[in-house]
């Protein structure tokens, strides 16, 4: 395994995944610290620019965490985000960003352990993939 410690931006919804992350945090669970949490009210709020920006700024991976389908505080914001995130992944792939670097996962409020597992798994996968092409650079 490489020594490379990946940088991960996690865009998480306020209601579920952030709560799970908080639970993981307060239970003093250990998940890789190179994850930067960005709390948003809903995954439906995620603009494609956030994902682009993260990758261009050298994020090795972007993790998006929202409520399970049917669980969304805002009825269906999470489902509305799915297609948009899929599209941005398709586009990024053509510019040499492997599609595995962008991950969408539903993590419920009580799923602290799931959050931790997901983070560990994602960090490991991204770590194994090696540095992102934009690593340590700032593409503007």
């Amino acid at each position: 395994m490489s020594e490379h410690k990946p940088k991960i931006v996690a865009l998480v919804c306020n209601w579920c995944t952030y709560t799970a992350a908080d639970l993981a945090g307060t239970s003093r669970r250990d998940y890789p610290s190179e994850i930067r949490l960005v709390r948003l009210m809903c995954t439906g709020m995620i603009d494609s620019k956030y994902i682009l920006k993260a990758f261009l700024e050298g994020a090795d991976g972007v993790f998006i965490g929202g409520c399970h389908p049917g669980d969304c505080h805002y009825i269906d914001g999470n489902l509305k985000a799915v297609k948009r995130i899929e599209a941005i992944g398709i586009m990024l792939e053509q510019f040499g960003f492997e599609k595995e670097r962008l991950k969408l996962e539903w993590i419920g409020a009580s799923e602290g352990p799931e959050f931790q597992e997901n983070m560990q798994e994602f960090a490991k996968k991204i770590g194994d993939m090696g540095k992102v092409q934009t690593a340590d650079r700032m593409i503007l």
């Binding site: 620019k49 261009l56 599209a87 586009m91 092409q133 934009t134 593409i139 503007l140």
Partner: protein
């Protein structure tokens, strides 16, 4: 059922022009939206014509398109006014118009769309150059292959050159005639309202025949061109480094986005406060990078634009035509768009009923 005008000898544009004038004279429509060559502009400009007496300058199929006129067309039919207008558009312009309908930028209620087999266009500058030495260039283009070779890279590699989503389609590829076909109920009604004119000044005859193998032949050739171009472009954008090389000389003039017929924003997000940076941000960035190229956000700009509208890209090539730095924006856009559209199971401008992906939401069960 098709009708046709026999015109072995005459210029293909004549038939279209005749149809246009007839529509206006018969009051079938209130106005025409059609390229018009006036005394002060060498390039035929899309114009809104309502006086049948002032139709002499109509040049419906000159081998030039100063811009993709979908946005201009949309401005005429932003909302229903009851004024019926016949729009003479290239296939790529209709595709863009269809996207604009989906984006709520216009309604086709008052529109009759008329289109034709597109042989392509030459760049504006080139056209003026050709025109200065040959005042018959509009006509000669359709018979002189060397002139046809002057069309843009985009046109040469465009395999969507026959009309789709028009009300009336006019074919002249693979035939010596101009074959008229009502391709929608609206179009058929318009044509039959001109029935009285059959045998009259328009000299429309029933029937008409097209040698589809010729059309297919052209299509095949252009598809091949496209394939070669796309695989070359894929290589050019395969990673961020190569992509940056490609757009290295971008000036942030945003011409490409202004020329883009489906970039429908009144004002681009890159002109809003989000991308107007405070000096301290610029200094912070400079400190982090050591060297900060100005203007900033060029990569972000192009990628954002792709993410915003690549699903709606109709491949008209205008973005390349307007680039002052000769960046092959259209090649990049068309290459990315094709894959994006394929994966999203969506084709820009094709099906007016199919909503734009991620702007339509299915009911949750």
């Amino acid at each position: 059922m098709t009708t046709y005008i026999d015109q072995t000898e005459s210029y293909k544009g004549e038939a279209i022009k005749k149809l246009a004038v007839e529509l206006l004279k018969n009051n079938t429509v209130d106005s025409l939206f059609i390229p018009f060559q006036n005394s002060y502009s060498g390039i035929p400009m899309p114009s809104l014509i309502s006086d049948p007496e002032k139709t002499d300058g109509i040049e419906p199929i000159a081998p030039v398109a100063p811009f993709n006129s979908a946005k201009q067309a949309a401005s005429v039919i932003k909302y229903a006014t009851g004024k019926k207008t016949a729009f003479f558009l290239r296939p790529c312009e209709i595709r863009a118009l269809v996207e604009l309908v989906k984006l709520n930028q216009c309604t086709l209620e008052d529109a009759v769309i008329i289109s034709y087999d597109c042989y392509g266009r030459v760049e504006n500058k080139k056209y003026l150059e050709l025109l200065s030495s040959n005042d018959q260039v509009n006509k000669d283009f359709y018979t002189d292959e060397s002139l046809q070779n002057e069309t843009t890279t985009t046109c040469k590699s465009c395999d969507a050159f026959t009309p789709l989503n028009a009300d009336i389609a006019i074919s002249f590829m693979g035939t010596d005639q101009s074959v008229f076909e009502g391709t929608s109920e609206k179009g058929s009604d318009v044509l039959s309202s001109l029935n009285s004119a059959i045998g009259g000044s328009l000299d429309l005859k029933s029937g008409g025949s097209i040698d589809q193998s010729i059309v297919e032949g052209i299509k095949e050739k252009r598809s091949k061109e496209k394939e070669t171009l796309f695989s070359k472009t894929s290589e050019t954008i395969k990673d961020v480094d190569s992509f940056q090389k490609m757009i290295g000389s971008c000036l942030n003039c945003y011409n490409c986005r202004t020329a883009c017929p489906v970039c429908y924003c009144k004002e681009c997000v890159f002109l809003t406060d989000i991308f107007l940076h405070d000096p301290d941000i610029l200094h912070q960035r400079s400190i982090k990078k050591g060297v900060l190229k100005l203007p900033v956000d060029t990569t972000m700009f192009h990628m954002t634009r792709i993410s915003h509208i690549s699903h709606s890209c109709v491949g008209c090539g205008q973005c390349t035509s307007v680039c002052p730095s000769d960046i092959q924006v259209a090649d990049m856009f068309r290459t990315v768009s094709e894959k994006t559209q394929e994966k999203l199971e969506y084709k820009a401008g094709q099906n007016i009923e199919q909503p734009i992906p991620f702007l339509a939401y299915k009911e949750e069960n």
